[in-house]
Amino acid sequence: MTAGGDEFEFLCRMGDNALVLGQRLSEWCGSAPALEEDIALANTALDLLGQAKMWLDLAAEVEDAGRTSDDLAMKRDVMDFRNLLLVERPNGDFGHTMTRQFLFDSWHVEMLKELADSKDARIAEISAKSAKEARYHVERSAETVIGLGDGTPESHSRMQTALNELWSYVGEMFHDDEVDMSMARSKLAPLPSNLRSGFDRRFRKVVEAATLIPPTGAYAHLGGKNGIRHTEHLGHILTQMQWLQRAYPESEW
Protein backbone atom coordinates (compact mmCIF):
# COMPACT_ATOMS: atom_id res chain seq x y z
CA MET A 1 0.00 0.00 0.00
CA THR A 2 1.22 3.46 -0.81
CA ALA A 3 0.23 6.82 0.63
CA GLY A 4 -2.57 7.41 -1.84
CA GLY A 5 -3.97 3.91 -1.60
CA ASP A 6 -4.47 1.27 -4.26
CA GLU A 7 -7.01 3.21 -6.24
CA PHE A 8 -4.69 6.19 -6.52
CA GLU A 9 -1.91 3.86 -7.56
CA PHE A 10 -4.11 2.27 -10.21
CA LEU A 11 -5.32 5.61 -11.56
CA CYS A 12 -1.73 6.77 -11.92
CA ARG A 13 -1.03 3.64 -13.93
CA MET A 14 -3.83 4.38 -16.35
CA GLY A 15 -2.96 8.07 -16.53
CA ASP A 16 0.77 7.59 -16.89
CA ASN A 17 0.37 5.03 -19.68
CA ALA A 18 -1.68 7.51 -21.66
CA LEU A 19 0.57 10.43 -20.79
CA VAL A 20 3.88 8.80 -21.61
CA LEU A 21 2.64 7.19 -24.80
CA GLY A 22 0.98 10.45 -25.86
CA GLN A 23 4.25 12.23 -25.21
CA ARG A 24 6.15 9.66 -27.26
CA LEU A 25 3.73 9.91 -30.17
CA SER A 26 3.87 13.68 -30.18
CA GLU A 27 7.61 13.42 -30.84
CA TRP A 28 6.59 12.40 -34.37
CA CYS A 29 4.93 15.70 -35.11
CA GLY A 30 6.17 17.03 -38.44
CA SER A 31 8.27 14.00 -39.34
CA ALA A 32 5.89 11.15 -40.17
CA PRO A 33 6.22 9.25 -43.48
CA ALA A 34 3.17 10.97 -44.99
CA LEU A 35 0.87 13.83 -44.09
CA GLU A 36 -2.01 11.46 -43.34
CA GLU A 37 0.17 9.54 -40.88
CA ASP A 38 1.31 12.75 -39.24
CA ILE A 39 -2.28 13.76 -38.67
CA ALA A 40 -3.30 10.31 -37.45
CA LEU A 41 -0.41 10.10 -34.97
CA ALA A 42 -1.31 13.52 -33.62
CA ASN A 43 -4.92 12.38 -33.30
CA THR A 44 -3.96 9.37 -31.24
CA ALA A 45 -1.59 11.46 -29.14
CA LEU A 46 -4.36 13.97 -28.51
CA ASP A 47 -6.80 11.27 -27.44
CA LEU A 48 -4.21 9.84 -25.08
CA LEU A 49 -3.37 13.21 -23.59
CA GLY A 50 -7.05 13.84 -23.01
CA GLN A 51 -7.36 10.47 -21.30
CA ALA A 52 -4.25 11.16 -19.23
CA LYS A 53 -5.83 14.36 -17.99
CA MET A 54 -9.04 12.59 -16.98
CA TRP A 55 -7.22 9.79 -15.15
CA LEU A 56 -4.81 12.11 -13.39
CA ASP A 57 -7.60 14.51 -12.43
CA LEU A 58 -9.35 11.61 -10.78
CA ALA A 59 -6.11 10.38 -9.22
CA ALA A 60 -5.58 13.81 -7.69
CA GLU A 61 -9.15 13.85 -6.43
CA VAL A 62 -8.83 10.38 -4.90
CA GLU A 63 -5.49 11.23 -3.32
CA ASP A 64 -7.00 14.37 -1.83
CA ALA A 65 -3.65 15.92 -1.03
CA GLY A 66 -4.09 19.20 -2.86
CA ARG A 67 -2.25 18.12 -5.99
CA THR A 68 -3.60 18.67 -9.52
CA SER A 69 -3.22 16.55 -12.64
CA ASP A 70 -0.54 18.97 -13.79
CA ASP A 71 1.35 18.50 -10.53
CA LEU A 72 1.22 14.76 -11.06
CA ALA A 73 2.36 15.01 -14.68
CA MET A 74 4.98 17.67 -14.29
CA LYS A 75 6.36 17.29 -10.79
CA ARG A 76 6.76 13.60 -10.03
CA ASP A 77 10.12 11.96 -10.60
CA VAL A 78 10.81 8.65 -12.35
CA MET A 79 10.25 6.44 -9.33
CA ASP A 80 6.73 7.80 -8.88
CA PHE A 81 5.66 7.16 -12.47
CA ARG A 82 3.48 4.10 -12.92
CA ASN A 83 3.38 3.51 -16.67
CA LEU A 84 4.19 0.24 -18.38
CA LEU A 85 7.75 -0.12 -19.64
CA LEU A 86 6.36 -0.67 -23.14
CA VAL A 87 5.12 2.89 -23.55
CA GLU A 88 8.39 4.53 -22.53
CA ARG A 89 10.39 2.60 -25.14
CA PRO A 90 11.83 4.98 -27.75
CA ASN A 91 9.92 5.47 -30.99
CA GLY A 92 12.44 3.80 -33.27
CA ASP A 93 11.31 3.81 -36.89
CA PHE A 94 7.68 4.24 -37.87
CA GLY A 95 7.17 0.47 -37.90
CA HIS A 96 8.50 0.21 -34.38
CA THR A 97 6.20 2.99 -33.20
CA MET A 98 3.17 1.38 -34.80
CA THR A 99 4.03 -2.07 -33.45
CA ARG A 100 4.34 -0.62 -29.95
CA GLN A 101 1.03 1.13 -30.55
CA PHE A 102 -0.68 -2.03 -31.70
CA LEU A 103 0.54 -4.00 -28.69
CA PHE A 104 -0.59 -1.28 -26.32
CA ASP A 105 -3.92 -0.68 -28.06
CA SER A 106 -4.72 -4.39 -28.03
CA TRP A 107 -4.30 -4.43 -24.26
CA HIS A 108 -5.92 -1.05 -23.81
CA VAL A 109 -9.23 -1.92 -25.51
CA GLU A 110 -9.62 -5.04 -23.38
CA MET A 111 -8.78 -3.14 -20.21
CA LEU A 112 -11.14 -0.24 -20.91
CA LYS A 113 -13.95 -2.56 -21.90
CA GLU A 114 -13.80 -4.21 -18.47
CA LEU A 115 -13.24 -0.94 -16.64
CA ALA A 116 -16.44 0.44 -18.09
CA ASP A 117 -18.17 -1.86 -15.55
CA SER A 118 -16.13 -0.61 -12.61
CA LYS A 119 -17.94 -0.17 -9.34
CA ASP A 120 -16.51 3.33 -9.20
CA ALA A 121 -18.77 5.32 -11.50
CA ARG A 122 -16.02 7.84 -12.20
CA ILE A 123 -13.73 5.10 -13.48
CA ALA A 124 -16.54 3.61 -15.52
CA GLU A 125 -17.30 6.94 -17.10
CA ILE A 126 -13.73 7.74 -18.12
CA SER A 127 -13.34 4.20 -19.45
CA ALA A 128 -16.47 4.26 -21.54
CA LYS A 129 -15.32 7.48 -23.16
CA SER A 130 -11.77 6.25 -23.67
CA ALA A 131 -12.87 2.86 -24.96
CA LYS A 132 -14.40 4.44 -28.05
CA GLU A 133 -11.12 6.14 -28.85
CA ALA A 134 -9.10 3.01 -28.12
CA ARG A 135 -11.23 0.93 -30.48
CA TYR A 136 -10.43 3.36 -33.23
CA HIS A 137 -6.74 3.35 -32.31
CA VAL A 138 -6.45 -0.42 -32.45
CA GLU A 139 -8.25 -0.55 -35.76
CA ARG A 140 -5.75 1.83 -37.21
CA SER A 141 -2.61 0.37 -35.64
CA ALA A 142 -3.66 -3.16 -36.60
CA GLU A 143 -4.26 -2.05 -40.17
CA THR A 144 -0.82 -0.48 -40.31
CA VAL A 145 0.89 -3.53 -38.84
CA ILE A 146 -0.85 -5.67 -41.45
CA GLY A 147 -0.05 -3.29 -44.30
CA LEU A 148 3.61 -3.03 -43.45
CA GLY A 149 4.06 -6.67 -42.44
CA ASP A 150 2.52 -7.79 -45.70
CA GLY A 151 4.11 -5.01 -47.76
CA THR A 152 7.59 -5.12 -49.27
CA PRO A 153 10.40 -7.44 -48.10
CA GLU A 154 11.97 -4.43 -46.38
CA SER A 155 8.83 -3.36 -44.55
CA HIS A 156 8.19 -6.98 -43.59
CA SER A 157 11.60 -7.42 -42.08
CA ARG A 158 11.42 -4.12 -40.20
CA MET A 159 8.07 -5.12 -38.70
CA GLN A 160 9.35 -8.53 -37.67
CA THR A 161 12.34 -6.89 -35.99
CA ALA A 162 10.09 -4.44 -34.16
CA LEU A 163 7.82 -7.21 -32.94
CA ASN A 164 10.75 -9.30 -31.74
CA GLU A 165 12.29 -6.35 -29.94
CA LEU A 166 9.11 -5.29 -28.18
CA TRP A 167 7.86 -8.73 -27.28
CA SER A 168 9.48 -8.90 -23.86
CA TYR A 169 7.50 -5.80 -22.84
CA VAL A 170 4.13 -7.43 -23.49
CA GLY A 171 4.04 -9.60 -20.37
CA GLU A 172 3.94 -6.69 -17.93
CA MET A 173 0.51 -5.69 -19.23
CA PHE A 174 -0.95 -8.97 -17.97
CA HIS A 175 1.02 -9.36 -14.77
CA ASP A 176 -1.14 -9.25 -11.63
CA ASP A 177 0.35 -7.59 -8.59
CA GLU A 178 -0.93 -6.51 -5.16
CA VAL A 179 -2.57 -3.37 -6.45
CA ASP A 180 -4.34 -5.26 -9.22
CA MET A 181 -5.59 -7.90 -6.85
CA SER A 182 -6.89 -5.34 -4.42
CA MET A 183 -8.63 -3.45 -7.23
CA ALA A 184 -10.16 -6.69 -8.50
CA ARG A 185 -11.36 -7.68 -5.02
CA SER A 186 -13.14 -4.34 -4.70
CA LYS A 187 -14.62 -4.81 -8.19
CA LEU A 188 -13.00 -1.58 -9.30
CA ALA A 189 -10.88 -3.09 -12.08
CA PRO A 190 -10.32 -6.43 -13.82
CA LEU A 191 -7.37 -8.69 -13.13
CA PRO A 192 -4.84 -7.99 -15.89
CA SER A 193 -4.25 -11.71 -16.41
CA ASN A 194 -7.90 -12.08 -17.41
CA LEU A 195 -7.34 -9.75 -20.35
CA ARG A 196 -4.79 -12.00 -21.98
CA SER A 197 -7.13 -14.22 -23.99
CA GLY A 198 -8.82 -11.25 -25.66
CA PHE A 199 -5.43 -9.81 -26.46
CA ASP A 200 -4.16 -13.10 -27.85
CA ARG A 201 -7.16 -13.56 -30.12
CA ARG A 202 -6.67 -10.19 -31.79
CA PHE A 203 -2.90 -10.52 -31.81
CA ARG A 204 -2.94 -13.88 -33.58
CA LYS A 205 -5.34 -12.67 -36.26
CA VAL A 206 -3.42 -9.51 -37.01
CA VAL A 207 0.03 -11.08 -36.94
CA GLU A 208 -1.13 -13.80 -39.28
CA ALA A 209 -2.62 -11.30 -41.72
CA ALA A 210 0.63 -9.36 -41.47
CA THR A 211 2.53 -12.56 -42.40
CA LEU A 212 4.69 -12.09 -39.30
CA ILE A 213 5.98 -14.81 -37.03
CA PRO A 214 4.64 -14.47 -33.49
CA PRO A 215 7.52 -14.40 -31.01
CA THR A 216 7.42 -17.20 -28.48
CA GLY A 217 9.66 -16.00 -25.64
CA ALA A 218 7.86 -15.97 -22.31
CA TYR A 219 10.21 -13.56 -20.61
CA ALA A 220 8.63 -10.34 -19.42
CA HIS A 221 10.42 -7.23 -18.21
CA LEU A 222 8.67 -5.86 -15.15
CA GLY A 223 9.11 -2.74 -13.06
CA GLY A 224 7.19 -0.02 -14.88
CA LYS A 225 3.70 -0.13 -13.46
CA ASN A 226 4.93 -0.60 -9.91
CA GLY A 227 7.64 2.01 -10.49
CA ILE A 228 10.35 -0.22 -9.06
CA ARG A 229 12.61 -0.17 -12.10
CA HIS A 230 11.81 1.97 -15.11
CA THR A 231 14.04 1.95 -18.18
CA GLU A 232 16.65 4.67 -18.63
CA HIS A 233 14.42 6.29 -21.21
CA LEU A 234 11.76 7.60 -18.85
CA GLY A 235 14.12 10.06 -17.19
CA HIS A 236 14.84 11.65 -20.55
CA ILE A 237 11.15 11.91 -21.37
CA LEU A 238 10.62 13.70 -18.06
CA THR A 239 13.54 16.07 -18.51
CA GLN A 240 11.80 17.38 -21.61
CA MET A 241 8.24 17.18 -20.49
CA GLN A 242 8.77 18.73 -17.07
CA TRP A 243 11.49 21.20 -17.89
CA LEU A 244 9.54 24.45 -17.84
CA GLN A 245 7.66 23.62 -14.67
CA ARG A 246 10.89 22.63 -12.96
CA ALA A 247 12.89 25.60 -14.20
CA TYR A 248 10.25 28.20 -13.24
CA PRO A 249 8.42 26.49 -10.40
CA GLU A 250 6.20 29.31 -9.15
CA SER A 251 4.86 30.33 -12.56
CA GLU A 252 1.49 30.04 -14.19
CA TRP A 253 1.31 29.09 -17.84
Binding site: C29, G30, P33, L35, E37, D38, L148, S155, E252, W253
Partner: protein
Protein backbone atom coordinates in the same frame (compact mmCIF):
# COMPACT_ATOMS: atom_id res chain seq x y z
CA UNK B 1 2.90 35.92 -46.80
CA UNK B 2 2.79 32.13 -46.86
CA UNK B 3 3.17 32.69 -50.57
CA UNK B 4 5.77 35.42 -50.94
CA UNK B 5 6.98 36.93 -54.19
CA UNK B 6 5.20 34.46 -56.39
CA UNK B 7 6.19 35.07 -59.97
CA UNK B 8 3.37 35.07 -62.44
CA UNK B 9 3.82 33.44 -65.79
CA UNK B 10 2.64 35.40 -68.79
CA UNK B 11 0.26 33.66 -71.13
CA UNK B 12 0.52 33.47 -74.89
CA UNK B 13 -2.90 31.95 -75.34
CA UNK B 14 -5.51 32.93 -77.91
CA UNK B 15 -6.49 36.57 -77.08
CA UNK B 16 -10.17 35.89 -77.54
CA UNK B 17 -10.10 33.04 -75.06
CA UNK B 18 -8.07 35.16 -72.68
CA UNK B 19 -10.60 37.97 -72.85
CA UNK B 20 -13.50 35.61 -72.19
CA UNK B 21 -11.60 34.14 -69.25
CA UNK B 22 -10.90 37.57 -67.81
CA UNK B 23 -14.54 38.49 -68.24
CA UNK B 24 -15.56 35.48 -66.15
CA UNK B 25 -13.18 36.51 -63.40
CA UNK B 26 -14.33 40.10 -63.52
CA UNK B 27 -17.91 38.90 -63.20
CA UNK B 28 -16.91 37.13 -59.98
CA UNK B 29 -17.33 33.62 -61.36
CA UNK B 30 -15.25 30.82 -59.90
CA UNK B 31 -12.89 28.95 -62.17
CA UNK B 32 -13.15 25.19 -61.70
CA UNK B 33 -10.54 22.52 -62.54
CA UNK B 34 -12.26 21.36 -65.73
CA UNK B 35 -12.69 24.89 -67.09
CA UNK B 36 -10.36 26.29 -69.70
CA UNK B 37 -7.68 28.49 -68.14
CA UNK B 38 -4.60 30.26 -69.44
CA UNK B 39 -1.39 28.33 -68.97
CA UNK B 40 0.02 31.29 -67.04
CA UNK B 41 -2.89 31.25 -64.61
CA UNK B 42 -2.44 27.55 -63.99
CA UNK B 43 1.31 27.79 -63.48
CA UNK B 44 1.11 30.82 -61.22
CA UNK B 45 -1.52 29.14 -59.09
CA UNK B 46 0.52 25.96 -58.75
CA UNK B 47 3.44 28.05 -57.58
CA UNK B 48 1.33 30.01 -55.13
CA UNK B 49 -0.76 27.19 -53.69
CA UNK B 50 2.27 24.91 -53.58
CA UNK B 51 4.27 27.50 -51.69
CA UNK B 52 1.39 27.98 -49.32
CA UNK B 53 1.06 24.22 -48.75
CA UNK B 54 4.79 23.82 -48.14
CA UNK B 55 4.63 26.68 -45.64
CA UNK B 56 1.98 24.85 -43.62
CA UNK B 57 4.11 21.72 -43.50
CA UNK B 58 7.45 23.38 -42.77
CA UNK B 59 5.56 25.59 -40.34
CA UNK B 60 4.86 22.52 -38.21
CA UNK B 61 8.52 22.35 -37.29
CA UNK B 62 9.15 25.50 -35.23
CA UNK B 63 6.02 24.89 -33.15
CA UNK B 64 6.49 21.13 -33.07
CA UNK B 65 9.78 21.95 -31.40
CA UNK B 66 7.86 22.78 -28.18
CA UNK B 67 5.13 20.14 -28.04
CA UNK B 68 7.12 17.78 -25.87
CA UNK B 69 8.05 20.68 -23.58
CA UNK B 70 4.69 22.44 -23.27
CA UNK B 71 4.29 23.45 -19.61
CA UNK B 72 0.86 21.95 -18.81
CA UNK B 73 -1.30 19.11 -20.07
CA UNK B 74 -3.77 21.59 -21.49
CA UNK B 75 -1.16 23.69 -23.30
CA UNK B 76 0.35 20.53 -24.72
CA UNK B 77 -2.98 19.38 -26.09
CA UNK B 78 -3.80 22.80 -27.53
CA UNK B 79 -0.44 23.14 -29.24
CA UNK B 80 -0.57 19.62 -30.63
CA UNK B 81 -4.06 20.25 -31.99
CA UNK B 82 -2.88 23.51 -33.52
CA UNK B 83 0.10 21.97 -35.24
CA UNK B 84 -2.10 19.13 -36.42
CA UNK B 85 -4.42 21.72 -37.97
CA UNK B 86 -1.46 23.09 -39.92
CA UNK B 87 -0.78 19.63 -41.32
CA UNK B 88 -4.44 19.51 -42.31
CA UNK B 89 -4.10 22.88 -44.02
CA UNK B 90 -1.16 21.50 -45.97
CA UNK B 91 -3.32 18.58 -47.01
CA UNK B 92 -6.23 20.76 -48.22
CA UNK B 93 -3.85 22.94 -50.18
CA UNK B 94 -1.96 20.08 -51.80
CA UNK B 95 -5.34 18.70 -52.85
CA UNK B 96 -6.27 22.07 -54.34
CA UNK B 97 -2.98 22.20 -56.23
CA UNK B 98 -3.46 18.64 -57.46
CA UNK B 99 -6.60 19.74 -59.31
CA UNK B 100 -4.22 21.79 -61.48
CA UNK B 101 -2.38 18.72 -62.64
CA UNK B 102 0.58 18.40 -60.31
CA UNK B 103 0.81 15.64 -57.73
CA UNK B 104 1.64 16.07 -54.06
CA UNK B 105 4.72 13.88 -54.49
CA UNK B 106 5.97 16.06 -57.34
CA UNK B 107 5.49 19.18 -55.28
CA UNK B 108 7.25 17.58 -52.32
CA UNK B 109 10.22 16.63 -54.48
CA UNK B 110 10.37 20.20 -55.78
CA UNK B 111 10.43 21.56 -52.25
CA UNK B 112 13.14 19.15 -51.17
CA UNK B 113 15.27 19.96 -54.21
CA UNK B 114 14.92 23.67 -53.46
CA UNK B 115 12.87 24.37 -56.60
CA UNK B 116 9.86 25.53 -54.60
CA UNK B 117 9.83 27.87 -51.63
CA UNK B 118 8.03 28.22 -48.35
CA UNK B 119 7.44 31.28 -46.20
CA UNK B 120 10.53 33.00 -44.80
CA UNK B 121 8.98 33.14 -41.33
CA UNK B 122 9.51 29.44 -40.64
CA UNK B 123 13.25 29.85 -40.89
CA UNK B 124 13.34 31.55 -37.50
CA UNK B 125 13.97 29.49 -34.37
CA UNK B 126 11.60 29.03 -31.42
CA UNK B 127 13.94 29.35 -28.47
CA UNK B 128 11.58 29.89 -25.53
CA UNK B 129 8.00 28.96 -24.75
CA UNK B 130 6.99 32.58 -25.33
CA UNK B 131 7.89 32.09 -28.98
CA UNK B 132 4.95 29.71 -29.25
CA UNK B 133 2.76 32.53 -28.03
CA UNK B 134 4.36 35.00 -30.41
CA UNK B 135 3.88 32.70 -33.38
CA UNK B 136 0.19 32.18 -32.74
CA UNK B 137 -0.36 35.86 -32.08
CA UNK B 138 1.79 37.38 -34.83
CA UNK B 139 2.38 34.70 -37.46
CA UNK B 140 -1.12 33.25 -37.48
CA UNK B 141 -2.40 36.80 -37.09
CA UNK B 142 -0.55 37.83 -40.24
CA UNK B 143 -1.68 34.67 -42.02
CA UNK B 144 -5.30 35.54 -41.27
CA UNK B 145 -4.81 39.01 -42.78
CA UNK B 146 -3.80 37.41 -46.01
CA UNK B 147 -6.11 34.43 -46.04
CA UNK B 148 -9.39 36.16 -45.30
CA UNK B 149 -9.37 38.03 -48.64
CA UNK B 150 -8.11 34.90 -50.42
CA UNK B 151 -11.41 33.21 -49.59
CA UNK B 152 -12.67 35.28 -52.52
CA UNK B 153 -9.94 34.13 -54.89
CA UNK B 154 -11.04 33.19 -58.41
CA UNK B 155 -9.93 29.56 -58.36
CA UNK B 156 -12.72 27.47 -56.82
CA UNK B 157 -10.71 24.75 -55.05
CA UNK B 158 -8.26 27.32 -53.63
CA UNK B 159 -11.08 29.52 -52.40
CA UNK B 160 -12.81 26.58 -50.72
CA UNK B 161 -9.56 25.47 -49.08
CA UNK B 162 -9.13 29.00 -47.75
CA UNK B 163 -12.63 29.05 -46.30
CA UNK B 164 -11.95 25.85 -44.38
CA UNK B 165 -8.56 27.09 -43.24
CA UNK B 166 -9.80 30.48 -42.06
CA UNK B 167 -12.29 28.78 -39.75
CA UNK B 168 -9.37 27.28 -37.83
CA UNK B 169 -6.99 30.21 -37.91
CA UNK B 170 -8.79 32.38 -35.39
CA UNK B 171 -8.36 29.64 -32.78
CA UNK B 172 -4.64 29.57 -33.63
CA UNK B 173 -4.26 33.25 -33.06
CA UNK B 174 -6.28 33.19 -29.86
CA UNK B 175 -4.24 30.40 -28.29
CA UNK B 176 -1.07 32.34 -29.10
CA UNK B 177 -2.39 35.55 -27.63
CA UNK B 178 -3.52 33.65 -24.57
CA UNK B 179 0.00 32.31 -24.02
CA UNK B 180 1.37 35.83 -24.42
CA UNK B 181 -1.15 37.15 -21.91
CA UNK B 182 -0.10 34.60 -19.28
CA UNK B 183 3.55 35.32 -19.91
CA UNK B 184 3.22 39.10 -20.04
CA UNK B 185 1.28 39.08 -16.76
CA UNK B 186 3.46 36.41 -15.19
CA UNK B 187 6.72 36.44 -13.32
CA UNK B 188 9.59 38.77 -14.17
CA UNK B 189 11.25 35.95 -16.11
CA UNK B 190 8.10 35.18 -18.07
CA UNK B 191 7.60 38.80 -18.94
CA UNK B 192 11.18 38.99 -20.14
CA UNK B 193 10.62 35.95 -22.38
CA UNK B 194 7.45 37.52 -23.80
CA UNK B 195 9.20 40.80 -24.65
CA UNK B 196 12.15 38.94 -26.13
CA UNK B 197 9.85 36.85 -28.33
CA UNK B 198 8.13 39.98 -29.60
CA UNK B 199 11.52 41.59 -30.28
CA UNK B 200 12.61 38.64 -32.38
CA UNK B 201 9.35 37.96 -34.22
CA UNK B 202 8.19 41.49 -34.99
CA UNK B 203 10.20 42.25 -38.11
CA UNK B 204 10.10 38.70 -39.50
CA UNK B 205 6.30 38.92 -39.17
CA UNK B 206 6.25 42.17 -41.16
CA UNK B 207 8.37 40.42 -43.79
CA UNK B 208 5.72 37.77 -44.21
CA UNK B 209 3.76 40.11 -46.46
CA UNK B 210 6.68 40.47 -48.85
CA UNK B 211 8.34 43.66 -50.09
CA UNK B 212 6.28 46.51 -51.42
CA UNK B 213 4.63 45.51 -54.70
CA UNK B 214 5.67 48.75 -56.39
CA UNK B 215 5.03 48.28 -60.09
CA UNK B 216 5.64 44.54 -60.03
CA UNK B 217 4.18 43.00 -63.18
CA UNK B 218 3.69 39.76 -61.29
CA UNK B 219 1.45 41.40 -58.72
CA UNK B 220 -0.72 43.22 -61.23
CA UNK B 221 -1.24 40.09 -63.30
CA UNK B 222 -2.09 38.08 -60.18
CA UNK B 223 -4.45 40.79 -59.03
CA UNK B 224 -6.20 40.86 -62.39
CA UNK B 225 -6.66 37.11 -62.11
CA UNK B 226 -7.84 37.49 -58.50
CA UNK B 227 -5.29 35.11 -57.12
CA UNK B 228 -3.88 38.00 -55.20
CA UNK B 229 -6.50 40.25 -53.64
CA UNK B 230 -4.73 42.94 -51.66
CA UNK B 231 -1.32 44.56 -52.04
CA UNK B 232 1.51 43.63 -49.69
CA UNK B 233 1.68 47.11 -48.20
CA UNK B 234 -2.05 47.27 -47.61
CA UNK B 235 -1.98 44.01 -45.68
CA UNK B 236 1.11 44.99 -43.73
CA UNK B 237 -0.50 48.27 -42.67
CA UNK B 238 -3.62 46.46 -41.57
CA UNK B 239 -1.55 44.01 -39.59
CA UNK B 240 0.37 46.74 -37.79
CA UNK B 241 -2.81 48.66 -37.02
CA UNK B 242 -4.36 45.56 -35.53
CA UNK B 243 -1.31 44.45 -33.58
CA UNK B 244 -0.10 47.65 -31.91
CA UNK B 245 -3.13 47.98 -29.58
CA UNK B 246 -2.79 44.30 -28.71
CA UNK B 247 0.84 44.83 -27.74
CA UNK B 248 -0.24 47.83 -25.64
CA UNK B 249 -2.83 45.67 -23.94
CA UNK B 250 -0.10 43.14 -23.13
CA UNK B 251 2.10 45.98 -21.93
CA UNK B 252 4.82 44.83 -24.31
CA UNK B 253 6.88 47.18 -26.41
CA UNK B 254 7.05 46.85 -30.18
CA UNK B 255 10.73 47.11 -31.07
CA UNK B 256 10.36 50.11 -33.36
CA UNK B 257 11.33 53.59 -32.14
CA UNK B 258 9.66 55.13 -35.22
CA UNK B 259 6.29 53.62 -34.50
CA UNK B 260 3.62 56.28 -34.00
CA UNK B 261 0.00 56.96 -34.76
CA UNK B 262 -0.58 59.01 -37.90
CA UNK B 263 -3.84 60.87 -37.59
CA UNK B 264 -3.96 61.84 -41.27
CA UNK B 265 -3.77 58.34 -42.66
CA UNK B 266 -5.65 56.82 -39.77
CA UNK B 267 -2.95 54.24 -39.19
CA UNK B 268 0.46 53.76 -37.68
CA UNK B 269 3.73 54.85 -39.20
CA UNK B 270 6.32 52.16 -38.72
CA UNK B 271 9.81 51.13 -39.80
CA UNK B 272 10.33 48.81 -42.72
CA UNK B 273 11.98 45.50 -41.91
CA UNK B 274 15.51 44.91 -43.13
CA UNK B 275 14.81 43.64 -46.63
CA UNK B 276 18.37 42.44 -47.13
CA UNK B 277 17.72 39.99 -44.30
CA UNK B 278 14.52 38.89 -46.02
CA UNK B 279 16.32 38.21 -49.28
CA UNK B 280 19.08 36.37 -47.45
CA UNK B 281 16.48 34.13 -45.78
CA UNK B 282 14.78 33.42 -49.13
CA UNK B 283 18.17 32.49 -50.58
CA UNK B 284 18.61 29.91 -47.84
CA UNK B 285 20.63 31.89 -45.33
CA UNK B 286 18.06 32.27 -42.56
CA UNK B 287 18.89 30.96 -39.11
CA UNK B 288 17.03 27.68 -39.64
CA UNK B 289 16.82 27.10 -43.40
CA UNK B 290 19.20 24.20 -43.48
CA UNK B 291 17.74 22.60 -40.34
CA UNK B 292 14.20 22.86 -41.71
CA UNK B 293 15.13 21.34 -45.05
CA UNK B 294 17.14 18.59 -43.37
CA UNK B 295 14.17 17.72 -41.20
CA UNK B 296 11.81 17.54 -44.19
CA UNK B 297 14.28 15.53 -46.26
CA UNK B 298 14.86 13.10 -43.43
CA UNK B 299 11.13 12.61 -42.88
CA UNK B 300 10.62 12.00 -46.59
CA UNK B 301 13.52 9.58 -46.95
CA UNK B 302 12.93 7.72 -43.70
CA UNK B 303 9.30 7.36 -44.68
CA UNK B 304 9.95 5.87 -48.10
CA UNK B 305 9.92 2.26 -46.95
CA UNK B 306 6.62 2.89 -45.19
CA UNK B 307 4.96 4.46 -48.22
CA UNK B 308 6.33 1.67 -50.43
CA UNK B 309 5.23 -1.01 -47.99
CA UNK B 310 1.69 0.29 -47.67
CA UNK B 311 1.46 0.72 -51.44
CA UNK B 312 2.68 -2.83 -52.06
CA UNK B 313 0.13 -4.16 -49.60
CA UNK B 314 -2.69 -2.21 -51.22
CA UNK B 315 -1.70 -3.62 -54.61
CA UNK B 316 -1.61 -7.17 -53.29
CA UNK B 317 -5.05 -6.69 -51.81
CA UNK B 318 -6.42 -5.28 -55.05
CA UNK B 319 -4.85 -8.14 -57.04
CA UNK B 320 -6.31 -10.66 -54.58
CA UNK B 321 -9.76 -9.19 -55.09
CA UNK B 322 -9.45 -9.39 -58.87
CA UNK B 323 -8.23 -12.99 -58.66
CA UNK B 324 -11.16 -13.91 -56.44
CA UNK B 325 -13.71 -12.55 -58.87
Amino acid sequence: MYAQMVESTASDDDPEKLAAFQARIDAGEKIEPKDWMPEGYRKTLIRQIGQHAHSEIVGQLPEGNWITRAPTLERKAILLAKVQDEAGHGLYLYCAAETLGVSRDEMTEMLLEGRMKYSSIFNYPTVTWADIGAIGWLVDGAAIMNQVPLQRTSYGPYSRAMIRICKEESFHMRQGFDIMMKMANGSREQKRMAQDALNRFWYPSLMMFGPSDGDSVHSSQSMAWKIKISSNDELRQKFVDQTVPQADYLDLKIPDPELKWNQDKGGYDFSEPDWSEFHAVLKGNGPCNSDRMKARIRAWEDGRWVRDGLMAHAQKKAAGKVAAE
